[in-house]
């Protein structure tokens, strides 16, 4: 109850309301621009956020995270290009609806589903985060080690070219985390005599480079593409019949989105994908209409990806394990600001948490209003030429990288990781696993060393701790799950082929 009171108190402050209104507007604009998304925006914002007061800075990150997730649906519906990866599934039915002349209806469904999914996801977050944090009170080094391993094991199921590539990316990220002076012994590792590396690699610059810089080089190959706005109708409210049709879909997808979001490393994209597939499975009446303009096909991914924004914040705030790419950057910002996520945060910083919850809640309500009133305007933003936008974005990235420590070395690191990010992405090594490894690497090494000391060199003692054993077991499931699913799929295919052969 006290948490809700603090949230309301945060929302009653006109300064915070202005931050919510402004942050949501920026988030919507950026979300509507194909290529840019919450990850790039938050990475670019990091140099500014770390200069703000912690509550406002982290709340602002949370606001743009919510707003960009919704903003991606506008372009998905109107120009068949998802503004963010999480909106990719929305194109399947949103664009066909727009082609039928029902763009307004599709945008209305997307706006309402996003807002309802987002708000319910945040309510779950408000309840679940403190509960999970209570559990974290019982965590020692062994449990944190097992939890971090569990977080890394989820790389097996995140979208990407292959599971092996995700793990190689994760290992590379962990290796990057070992660069610098070892805190236990003072030994320099992989510094190659470069003083700028003594304190470790610059995480912020790597993130800006790998996400924004890598995307710039990818956009270089697509600068000639012309985008065509199919329809730009003012958003209209979905009819009562539409609501009757989608309410179950929205609730179901919100549940899926929140659950997927809570799992470390998973995010809105996976949530939207699963929610869409589940909706097709559950909605037997309209199964044939999916992909041709079913409103359930718009509602399901939008409710799920926005619900996932709340879900991904749960492990981030309660355990310090990022729920996805955007929350990994938010977590970095928190660590730079001297905030250590976990149970202590709830005792020491209740206002910060109320700020994050309130800001996300406010952002969802705010984009509902913006979406209904200004969808026509946001759809026009998608037509900003890439040739003008991206040079400005990359300049901002370079200046941001420099401003962090006023070091040209940092700009060099950013440029290097921009080139590396492009080539890694080209060969199917997604940036998200690298960032996960980079963030969890230190936790894995530190907790492993502490466990080694506590259990007197017997690391098998970790398995005797019930919570740690449970997480390691879950890690095994996380690793084997996709392989088992693949094997079952292959078996079913063989059976089906066999049956077809018998019929013929």
């Amino acid at each position: 109850m006290e948490a809700f009171f603090l949230v309301l108190q945060f929302l009653a402050d006109p300064y915070h309301l202005a931050i919510i209104a402004g942050g949501t507007l920026v988030g919507l604009i950026v979300g509507a621009l194909p290529g840019l998304g919450s990850v790039i925006l938050i990475a670019l914002m990091l140099p500014f956020v770390v200069r703000m007061d912690p509550t406002t800075g982290i709340a602002l990150c949370a606001i743009v995270y919510c707003a960009t997730t919704y903003g991606g649906s506008i372009t998905a519906i109107l120009i068949n290009t998802p503004g963010t990866p999480a909106a990719a599934m929305t194109t399947f039915d949103g664009f066909p609806l727009a082609q039928k002349g029902e763009a307004g209806r599709a945008l209305g469904i997307a706006t309402f589903s996003s807002a309802i999914g987002g708000i319910l996801g945040i309510l779950v977050m408000i309840v679940a985060t403190p509960l999970l944090a209570q559990v974290a009170y019982q965590f020692g080094p062994a449990e944190f080690f097992a939890l971090a391993v569990f977080g890394m094991s989820m790389l097996a199921s995140i979208s990407g070219a292959s599971m092996t590539k995700n793990f190689i990316g994760g290992a590379f990220g962990i290796l990057l985390a070992t660069v610098g002076t070892d805190l236990t012994t003072g030994v320099q590792r992989f510094t190659f005599g470069q003083p700028d590396l003594y304190e470790g690699v610059a995480v912020v610059q790597i993130m800006i480079g790998i996400f924004a810089g890598g995307e710039l080089l990818r956009q270089a190959t697509q600068a000639h593409l012309k985008r065509r706005l199919i329809a730009a109708g003012v958003t209209k409210l979905p009819s009562r019949e539409d609501f009757r049709r989608i309410w179950k879909t929205v609730l179901r997808s919100t549940g899926i989105g929140t659950f997927i979001g809570i799992l470390p490393a998973e995010g809105g994209k996976v949530a939207a994908m699963i929610a869409y597939n589940e909706e097709q499975r559950w909605n037997k009446k309209r199964r044939g209409q999916f992909g041709k303009g079913a409103i359930e096909g718009v509602a399901a991914p939008e409710a799920a990806n926005n619900a996932a924004t709340g879900g991904t914040m749960v492990p981030t705030l309660a355990l310090g394990i990022p729920g996805g790419g955007s929350t990994a950057i938010i977590l970095t910002a928190m660590l730079i600001l001297g905030l250590r996520p976990g149970p202590q945060l709830f005792v020491e910083q209740p206002n910060l948490l109320a700020g994050i919850f309130g800001a996300m809640l406010g952002a969802n309500i705010c984009f509902l209003v913006y979406g209904m009133v200004g969808a026509k305007f946001f759809s026009r933003i998608t037509l900003v030429p890439t040739t003008i936008l991206w040079p400005c974005v990359i300049c901002l990235a370079c200046l941001g990288a420099y401003s962090f420590q006023q070091s040209m070395f940092d700009v060099g690191v950013m440029v290097f990781f921009a080139c590396l990010g492009y080539f890694l992405n080209r060969h199917g090594y997604a940036p998200a696993p690298i960032v996960m490894g980079l963030i969890l690497g230190e936790l894995i090494e530190t907790s492993l060393k502490q466990s080694y000391l506590i259990y007197d060199g017997n690391l098998f003692a970790i398995l005797q701790q019930p919570i740690a054993a449970m997480f390691l077991l879950l890690s095994m499931f996380g690793l084997c799950g996709p392989l088992i699913a693949k094997a079952i799929g292959a078996y079913r295919d063989r059976q089906a082929a066999h049956l077809r052969g018998n019929d013929e």
């Binding site: 140099p47 500014f48 200069r51 292959s162 092996t164 590539k165 793990f167 190689i168 290992a171 590379f172 962990i174 290796l175 070992t178 070892d182 236990t184 012994t185 003072g186 030994v187 320099q188 590792r189 992989f190 810089g213 710039l216 080089l217 270089a220 190959t221 600068a223 000639h224 030429p385 890439t386 040739t387 003008i388 991206w390 040079p391 400005c392 990359i394 300049c395 901002l396 370079c398 200046l399 420099y402 401003s403 006023q406 040209m408 700009v411 060099g412 440029v415 921009a418 080139c419 492009y422 080209r426 060969h427 090494e445 492993l448 060393k449 080694y452 000391l453 060199g457």
Partner: protein, 158 residues
């Protein structure tokens, strides 16, 4: 992905080369760990600073080896899915070159003169020819960058 047609079994050569590159990288980094200072066992508290990075590199090497193995054992479905690899378009290298030049010019001629050169150069490289649009947009951006970094954040830019 490109395949080798001369072999009895098709090979995903791109994936194989990638894997070999990763294995070489992991080996080189592993060798680098031998250059780390050694510390007395009491100071290292049981685990030397080389142990963890080496373990990560071994995992990386094994994953790359697994990937290399998979590249040589393709299923018929994977063979049919293979597409020829397109070369990296020259514009990517030119864009990367411009970005490096911008970073190199920043401390030499100053941040804002470097931006004034970089923005139109990149836009022109990408095929933008609308002079008025470029002038107005980039002037607006310069003003925004000056207000944000120079006045609000008070960053001493080079």
């Amino acid at each position: 992905m490109s395949t080798s047609q001369t072999h009895a079994k098709p090979i995903d050569r791109t994936l194989l080369f990638e894997s070999i590159f990763i294995m070489v990288f992991a080996t080189a980094m592993f060798a680098t760990t031998y250059t780390f200072d050694k510390v007395p066992a009491i100071l290292a508290q049981g685990i030397q600073p080389t142990v963890f990075p080496r373990a990560v590199l071994v995992v990386m090497f094994l994953l790359a080896a697994l990937q290399a193995f998979k590249a040589t054992r393709l299923t018929p479905q994977q063979v049919s899915d293979l597409k020829p690899v397109k070369a990296v378009p020259p514009i990517v290298f030119l864009t990367a070159g411009l970005l490096m030049a911008f970073a190199a010019l920043m401390p030499i001629i100053g941040t804002f003169p470097a931006i004034v050169l970089f923005l139109p150069a990149l836009a022109l490289l990408w095929g933008e020819r609308r002079g008025l649009l470029m002038s107005l947009s980039f002037l607006g951006f310069l003003g925004f960058a000056y207000v944000l970094f120079g006045l609000i954040m008070n960053v001493p830019l080079p």
